[in-house]
Structure formats: C-alpha cells, structure tokens
C-alpha cells in the first residue's frame, strides 16, 4: 500500500477503522476535533456509528456501554476533556472492558492553552480516576507510529480487557506526515462471551461495578494486579537510539523524543557519547531500560514541569543520576536548547 499524506488526527481515525472500530463517541475540543470530524464522515460508510455526545463524561459512558456490548469502540479528547472522562475510565477499568481512548494533550492546568504539551503524564499514567488501577498507555512519536499503536491498542484492549490510552499531543494531532496503513497481522482475540447481547436461552451476562463486600473487592483488585503483572512482562516497549557506546542518556517520549533525536545527532557530531531512551509504553514503564552501569546521567526531557522524571528516578534507583529539563504551558522544545542543556550537564566530557 502506498504512503498517503495525512493529518495526525485523521490518520488516527483511519487506523481505528482499519482495526475494526465501528463505534465512536466524542465531543469537540482543540487540538483533536479533526478526529471526531473524520469519524463522523467515515464511520457511516463502513456501517459504523458516530455519536456527538453532550459532554466528554457522556461520551466515555457511551463507550462503557458499547464496550460492554462487545464492540470495538473509541473516544478521543484533549487534556481538559480527558480530565472529564476520568470517572468513566475508572468504571471501564473496574468492569474489565476494552476501550481505546486518545488524548491529544494541550497545556494546562485548567483551560490552559490549545498548544501541545505533555503535562497529562500523571493523569493518564498514574491514574486520574479513583481506586487501585493502571491503564496501558502508548506514546507515539510520529504519525506513522500513532497509526501502528492505535491498531495495536485495539488488540491489547481486547486481549487484556482494559482501557488503552494513546497519549499523544497537539503536535502529533495537527501535523501532516506520509503514513502507510500496512495490514499488520492482528493478534488472536479471545471470544467476548461476556458481552451484553441478551441472555437468550443461556445464562445472564452481567457487567458489574459494585462490590459491597470489601473482601470481594480486594480479591478482584488482586486479580486486576495479576493481570497488570502479565502486561508488564509481555507488553513493555521502548526504543534505544544511539545507546551502544553512550555514557549519557536522554530520556524522552512522544514529540519530545522526536526533538531530542535531532539534539542527539548534533551532539554526536561534536563527539559527545550520548543517546536516547524512548519509552513507547508509559505504563507499563520500561524500568529495565535504566539498569545500565555505564550511564553517568539520565537527562529527562519533557514538555511539562517534570512528570515522567519521577518514574525514571524510581527505575534507575539512583536519583543523583537523573536531571530534568522541560518546557511547560504549551511551549514546544527546540533542539538547540536541548543541546545546550545536554552540554551543561556533560561539561567537557567528550
């Protein structure tokens, strides 16, 4: 299949349809509105359903219903809208139902700005809803990767019966790049024999969210965390970029990682032995990527005041090895400032 030039938001929508998503419930918010617009145009053509809900809260609860009914279903929003969806994300998680949620992050807190940001790491990776839980969080660094991750997200959601969050930002949503929709072999999906379809002649299907007995709820939470252990073992992903002989390592995800790569190339040209560790799954976090004795400093770079950096510190088990540089409020990092910060840390370590 030939490459096509597409805007990120629309490419994500097309990828979802390719993955078999036929239901989309959403609400407009910049910088992701092209995604619901695309679904409104394209889903009816393949026999799917698009509903513009009255709020993000309603959209995620429609997703809860459709997911429990056995469908491949998606919603999307940007930061303040994702904050509104947290209630429903918790319910879907508790019910062990599959759903894909796209967050094209913008600057916050509050109404913030419409410019790209990475300040929802805590909300999406640490869990912005109540209770003991995690969601799988995938962080694409290009539009092609966003496409591939969306297709993978539907499989992961169906296999592990969990919400999967695509954590991108306004830059990924708004820019255009050539992308390819390879018919990647999809994974084997367990039968959805729990789906709400009417009991027919058989047993009732129940999608439960309440356990009044604490011992029941504790047992279910223990089962949830047994599932998370499997996900950590099997689904953790990261990329090493020019790390073979590196003595220093940048750490960055998504759009930041993309900018950091050009900073790495410039620093390499000047003789610095530096590379990049790029987490592709933010949860599960690739802890094993930070067990390297030869690294003098991990230089964490984010478009936030520093959120993922906490996980980097935990993973490398030596906080003195971790330094942070970031821009907040919707300011996009420049490779020059990353180069300068890298030099300030490495000094004359050529």
């Amino acid at each position: 299949m030939a490459k096509v030039l597409m805007k990120g938001n629309e490419a994500v929508g097309k990828a979802a349809i390719e993955a078999g998503c036929r239901y989309f419930f959403g609400y407009p918010i910049t910088p992701q509105s092209e995604l619901p617009e695309y679904m409104a145009r394209e889903l009816p053509k393949v026999g799917g359903v698009f509903v513009q809900s009255e709020s993000e809260i309603s959209a995620i609860n429609m997703v809860y219903g459709a997911a429990s009914a056995g469908a491949r279903v998606m919603t999307s929003s940007s930061s303040p809208g994702i904050a509104l969806k947290q209630e429903g994300i918790g319910y879907i998680t508790k019910a062990n139902r599959p759903a894909v949620i796209v967050n094209m992050m913008r600057g916050g807190p509050g109404l913030g700005t419409i410019q790209p940001s990475q300040a929802d790491y805590h909300m999406c990776v640490k869990g912005g809803s109540n209770g003991d839980y995690h969601n799988i969080v995938l962080a694409p660094s290009s539009i092609q990767e966003a496409v591939d991750m969306v297709i993978e997200a539907f499989d992961l959601a169906d296999i592990y019966l969990t919400p999967v969050i695509i954590l991108a930002d306004g830059l990924i949503g708004q820019m255009m790049e050539p992308v390819e929709f390879t018919n990647k072999k999809q994974r084997e999906i367990p039968k959805k024999d729990w789906a709400l379809v009417g009991k027919g002649k058989g047993e009732r299907h129940i999608t439960k969210n309440l356990d009044l007995n604490p011992l029941d709820l504790e047992r279910e939470n223990i089962e949830l965390f047994e599932k998370y252990k499997k996900i950590e073992e099997n689904e953790t992903q990261y990329e090493d970029y020019l790390m073979e002989d590196a003595e220093y390592a940048f750490v960055a995800y998504g759009t930041s990682a993309r900018i950091v790569k050009s900073a790495v190339r410039k620093l390499r040209e000047e003789g610095y032995k530096i590379g990049l560790i790029r987490p592709k799954t933010l949860w599960p976090f690739p802890k094993e990527a930070f067990k390297r004795n030869n690294i003098k400093k991990y230089i964490d770079i984010e478009m936030s005041m520093g959120q993922m950096v906490d996980d980097v510190k935990l993973a490398c088990e030596d906080v003195h090895k971790v330094v942070f540089y970031g821009r907040s409020g919707g300011v996009i990092l420049s490779s020059e400032e990353i180069v300068d910060f890298g030099k300030s840390i490495m000094g004359g370590a050529l």
Binding site: S53, Y64, A69, A71
Partner: protein, 250 residues
Amino acid sequence: MSVVFQKTKGLTDNKTHYCPGCSHGIVHRLVAEVLEEMNLLEDTIVVVPVGCAVLALNYFDVDAIQAAHGRAPATATGIKRVHPDKTVFTYQGDGDLAAIGTAEIVHAAARGEKITTIFINNGIYGMTGGQMAPTTLPYMKATTAPLGRDVNIQGYPIKVSEMISTLDGAKYVERVSVNTPANVIKAKKAIRKAFEVQQKGLGFSLIEVVSSCPTNWGLTPVKAMEFVSEKMIPYYPLGVYKDETAEEAK
C-alpha cells in the same frame, strides 16, 4: 387447584434489599411482568443506576450493567447503538436522573434514543440516607434540608415528565404512581406502552413513577402511601405528558 397468580419469570429468586413499603418492589414486578408478557426477557439489557436500585441487577432476570451515577442513559445509548435490535432500558431514581444525570437524560431524550427509562421519583436520596433530592417537595424535610426545603434557598423541585415531554425526541412520557391498586394497573399499562414505543423504534420513552420511601421519610408504609396520595401527586400530577405514538403510525 388452578394457578391464578404466580411470580413473573422476569425476576430472579433473590431476596430484595428494599425496605418494607418501598415502591421499588412493585415497580420491579410490573417491569418484569411486561417484559415477560412481551416475550422480551431473552433480548433485554437493563442499565441500573447508582442509588437504591444499584442492586437491581440481582433482581431483573435479564442481562444487566451497573452504570456510573447519572450516566445510565449514556451507557444505554452505547449499548443500544451496538445492538439496535435489543431492548435496552434504564431504571433510575431522582438523584441519579434529575440531579447528577440531568444532562444525560435530557440529551438521550433529545437524540430520540430508542431506549426506555423507568424513573422512580420519591423525592429523597434513599441509599445515602435521606438527603434532599431535586424532586424533594417545598417544605419537605431532608437531612440536608433540616428545616424543610426553602425554595428561596434550595430552589424548586424539577418536574421531569413536563421537562422531558418538551423534547422532540421523546415520543412517550407518562407519570404514574403505584399508591393504589387502580394506579398499579395504570402504571403497568404505561410501562407496556413505553416498551412498545421502543419495539416500534419510534424514539425515547419515559415512565415516571411517583413513589414512596417510608424509611427516609420517617413514615410507616401506610402513612408513606398516604403522603404519596396527599402531597406528592398534587405536586406531580399523574397523566400522559407526551404521546406521539399515534402520529408516528400515520
């Protein structure tokens, strides 16, 4: 000896947790009987609320899901859009439907979602222990309106059937009660009509049931039913508020 009455197949054998004199028991039975009589038990999904009826999934013998507080109409929308050939209904109380879930019920009705809502209006929060509801009557006492609801401070009750009936997507809206045997029979007919509207794909249907809550009203079951007759129904008049079933059939 011939059997003249027996428990509907639409209810499980589980004992309910509802208090003596609470209207939920009667309304559960009526809904279950209607589903059985319409031969819908195998193809129905109930969306239960947060409130006393959160455990209704233990009682209705159909597929069931527990929704977030107030969001049952949104969750029902998701299910119905995936399975347009199935019967989907929400069963919600006044706190769930008329306070935290006002947006969801209004917009499900406005979209003309082909679902049915059974709305229990007893003017009080039951599960959390007697706090003021959006439908608590003026001067009626609640734990969060200890001197009685003062409309200058707490505002006015919401008349849900009147409000929903103004929306074009709502095709059948009726307010009933279960305070007398005659009204129980009328309530069952209304519930049946609401499910027929859904079966025919006409649009949204809602049955409001003016109900009792003896425990949180601090009344005996008999006195509570008298309160329904003497205080609740005058404020919430019974009747058909919207019936576009005939018009649609033309």
